[in-house]
């Protein structure tokens, strides 16, 4: 196995980590206005992700940085080509990030509801736009011979990609709901779980439809050599397991199933793409692959060594924080920091 493949796998790992961890953060943010009635309930919900959201977001930052270091052409093509979408996404992340810190800094209900809205929008918009982005990666975009995508925003908003955006949003809400299921207590938790049942039904319908559409419109599930069919089927099983465990009242297993859906779906996308990074719909010669878009062997070696040392350390201390903050959050306000 060469280092180009290793970095493709690492990119898969980073995006899986990002969608798994920020997936429930986004989901919690989107659920915030729908499940909480009073201020202390909203605070409880925000505080479930309070200690961890920032480190979770670093998975996205690192995915971007790793892309820059290992596949600079992908970094260049993707972010310059998807310019407007990325700017909107960054705006969402900006207001969400400060909202966590700012919202409980004043006692004024109008102030707090404004920041709650910021958390909602700042969670919904990135979730939707990542879905649209990933769907466009699966479908391919008009990449020219100079590796640039000149199409602008509108072609990215095609029906398939928009549908992909909806799938992401629904899966993240579902994932966020099961996260709240293991973090909250009492009546608030019951309300979330009721909602989780409904969003699960929506997710199943959307996901099945999206998989069929993916089979018809892309080669992700029947890419010669490698295809994403097996992880797609496993993701479907995990999705069914989510509904089953939710029904059984097994909160931990529900959360694990939802997480598996997201990880397996990410794996599906990357296996279906392999060894491509960004598909050109104009000419297959313009497609970015892990070879023509990559850094030099020397650079890949350097960053491989650094990643081999630090990724395990990161996993250890980040997991440790989930252990420290494993307790459930009640609406008793002495528990709350944000």
């Amino acid at each position: 196995m060469d280092l180009n493949i290793l970095w493709f796998i690492l990119l898969t790992v980073l995006f899986s980590g990002f969608f798994f961890l920020e997936g429930f953060d986004y989901g919690v943010g989107i659920l915030l206005p729908f499940v909480a009635k009073e201020d202390n309930e909203r605070r409880a919900i925000i505080n479930t992700i309070g200690p961890v959201w920032d480190a979770n977001e670093v998975w996205m930052i690192l995915a971007g940085g790793a892309m820059f270091a290992a596949f600079p052409h992908m970094y260049a093509t993707l972010f310059s080509g998807f310019y407007v979408a990325l700017v909107i996404m960054l705006s969402g992340l900006i207001i969400r990030g400060v909202a966590f810190e700012f919202r409980s800094k004043r006692d004024d209900p109008a102030w707090r509801s404004r920041w709650d809205m910021a958390i909602f929008i700042g969670s919904l918009v990135p979730a939707l736009l990542w879905g649209i982005t990933v769907a466009n990666l699966m479908r391919g975009v008009d990449i020219a011979a100079d590796f640039n995508y000149y199409g602008g925003l509108l072609p990215l908003l095609n029906p398939y990609a928009l549908f992909g955006g909806l799938v992401f949003v629904s899966l993240f809400i579902m994932h966020g709901a099961s996260f709240l299921g293991i973090k909250l207590v009492g009546e608030l938790k019951d309300r979330v779980k009721k909602l989780a049942g409904k969003i699960w039904v929506v997710s199943v319908v959307l996901t099945v439809a999206f998989l069929i559409w993916t089979y018809l419109a892309t080669d992700i599930l029947n890419n010669p050599g490698f295809d994403g069919l097996i992880p797609a089927l496993l993701a479907a099983v995990a999705l069914l397991a989510y509904g089953w465990f939710l029904r059984q009242g097994k909160e931990g297993l529900t959360f694990v199933s939802g997480g598996l859906v997201i990880i397996l779906a990410t794996v599906m996308v990357f296996t279906g793409l392999f060894p491509r990074l960004m598909i050109s719909t104009l000419n297959s010669a313009n497609t970015l692959t892990i070879y023509n878009a990559s850094s030099s062997p020397y650079t890949l070696k350097i960053i491989s060594i650094v990643a081999a040392i630090f990724l395990p350390i990161i996993l250890v201390y980040q997991s440790w924080t989930y252990w420290i903050f494993r307790n459930r959050i009640s609406t008793d306000s002495s528990d709350l920091h944000y």
């Binding site: 705006s91 100079d146 201390y317 903050f325």
Partner: protein, 452 residues
């Protein structure tokens, strides 16, 4: 409108803005870790109270620093995709390593620090504080490794139509890093000190007996930190200038308004720059002083902008190679002037706080209120010199700014993003600073209230 010019403005604005908050994070993270260490060692509650009190300002600042930093991570791809393609093999690695070594550390342990007061032992919580400080310092190190390559490219070969990394050790050993990193780190230390002094001065002027001890200790600590930071940042800056006189003479000539080669070179203390005619019609000069400052003797030659430009033209072909001189010249005077004032003020602050005479020095305390922003002014001026002094290069000698732009973006795209960021940043800055002031002037002896 030209997307290149718009993109330059956007990058400048977002980076400068981001860097209002970064040094505060650097400095305050260290300051808080020191305070908490004192608390853990001595067991005195007042230091815990101080850590928590100043921690609130730190966290508000930290939040803005983080969210504006996300933009920077993607900014090279957004507006400078040709740069990313040409330089990604070298530039991407330190960014990825920054994520691996620094961002995770900072972001994970900030959560532990905020939420872990009652969940961890004192020592474990203290360790979290140090991890945050370490993370933010490491982050500045790696981003400066990347930036130093743009200023002084080393350890590369041009191959496959791009710059490729040939020697990672050379990238780390880039002398530019080892001037710039300590310069940035110590400037952060000074910023932290001056901000704490500013707020403490406000409270000492209020003169509430039950709070005086709290703010006198805070002031004393901050003064000591600020003095160390201010002196070091000045000394390192001096040697950095000597290094730049050799590695980037054009930058130094621009910051000194030095148009024509002189031997020995005189130092322009203050003057009026005429960029059109390449001269300074009015100025006060000290003979041979520039030679002394840059080369430690009174006889060395220092080339002027005009001669340096002729050399660049001979080397790289026709073009405009002179950076914006007026901006560099006044930025340099702002930076050095503020730096000297910082040493003076921090010196007085240390003197009077050790003699315990602060409360009597009301005029001095009043001066310390706006002086909280003095280091930020100096830092901003410094970055203006560093980055505009690279003109016309995005990477010195390798790629010009206009060649780094994303070919896919239109002027309309950049106007959209620039307005978006401008509006968001203005609103956030306004709210953030208001909140910092609210907490900075709040009464620490009052009951701990609504949230943290």
């Amino acid at each position: 409108m030209d997307p290149v010019i718009l993109s330059r403005w956007q990058f400048a604005m977002t980076t400068i803005y981001h860097f209002f908050f970064v040094p505060v994070t650097l400095g305050l993270a260290l300051f808080l870790a020191l305070l908490e260490t004192k608390y853990v060692i001595s067991g005195e509650e007042i230091y815990k109270k101080m850590t928590k009190f100043w921690g609130k300002i730190f966290l508000i600042n930290f939040a803005i620093g983080i969210v504006t930093g996300i933009v920077q991570e993607f900014h090279f791809g957004l507006n400078w995709s040709e740069y990313s393609r040409f330089m990604g093999d070298i530039f991407g690695a330190p960014l990825a390593i920054e994520g691996l070594m620094a961002f995770f550390l900072e972001s994970t342990f900030i959560g532990v620090w905020i939420f872990g007061w009652d969940k961890l032992s004192k020592k474990a919580h203290l360790a979290a504080a140090w991890m945050v400080a370490l993370g933010s310092s490491l982050s500045s190190f790696w981003i400066l490794v990347a930036n130093s390559f743009m200023q002084n490219p080393v350890g590369y070969v041009i191959r496959n139509g791009r710059a490729e990394m040939a020697d990672f050790g050379a990238l780390l050993g880039n002398p530019n890093v080892w001037y710039q990193f300590p310069h940035v780190l110590t400037s952060g230390v000074a910023v932290g000190g001056f901000i704490i002094m500013g707020f403490s001065a406000w409270h000492l002027l209020k003169n509430k007996p039950e709070n005086n001890k709290f703010f006198k200790i805070s002031f004393k600590w901050a003064a000591s930190v600020a003095l160390v930071g201010s002196i070091l940042v000045g000394f390192i800056g001096h040697y950095q200038g000597q290094f730049l006189a050799v590695s980037q003479p054009m930058k130094v000539a621009a910051m000194e308004g030095h148009w024509h080669t002189e031997q020995p070179a005189s130092f322009s203390v203050i003057g009026i720059i005429d960029e059109e005619n390449h001269e300074n019609p009015y100025e006060i000069k000290i003979p041979a002083a520039l030679s002394f400052l840059l080369f430690d003797d009174f006889s060395s030659e220092f080339k002027g902008l005009v001669e340096l430009e002729a050399e660049e033209v001979a080397k790289y072909g026709p073009g405009d190679y002179i950076p914006p001189v007026t901006l560099s010249y006044w930025s340099s005077r702002t930076m050095i002037g503020s730096g000297m004032l910082m040493i003076l003020l921090a010196g007085l602050a240390v003197w009077w706080s050790w003699k315990d005479e602060l409360e009597e020095k009301t005029l001095f305390l009043k001066i310390m209120l706006p002086s909280a922003l003095l280091p930020t002014l100096a830092i901003t001026a410094g970055w203006l010199i560093a980055e505009t002094g690279r003109w016309p290069w995005i990477v010195h000698g390798l790629q010009k700014i206009e060649d780094g732009i994303s070919p896919t973006i239109t002027a309309g795209n950049v106007i959209f993003s620039m307005v978006t960021f401008l509006v968001l940043y203005t609103v956030l800055g306004f709210i953030g600073i208001k909140l910092m002031i609210k907490y900075g002037i709040s009464d620490p002896s009052a009951a701990e209230g609504q949230g943290e």
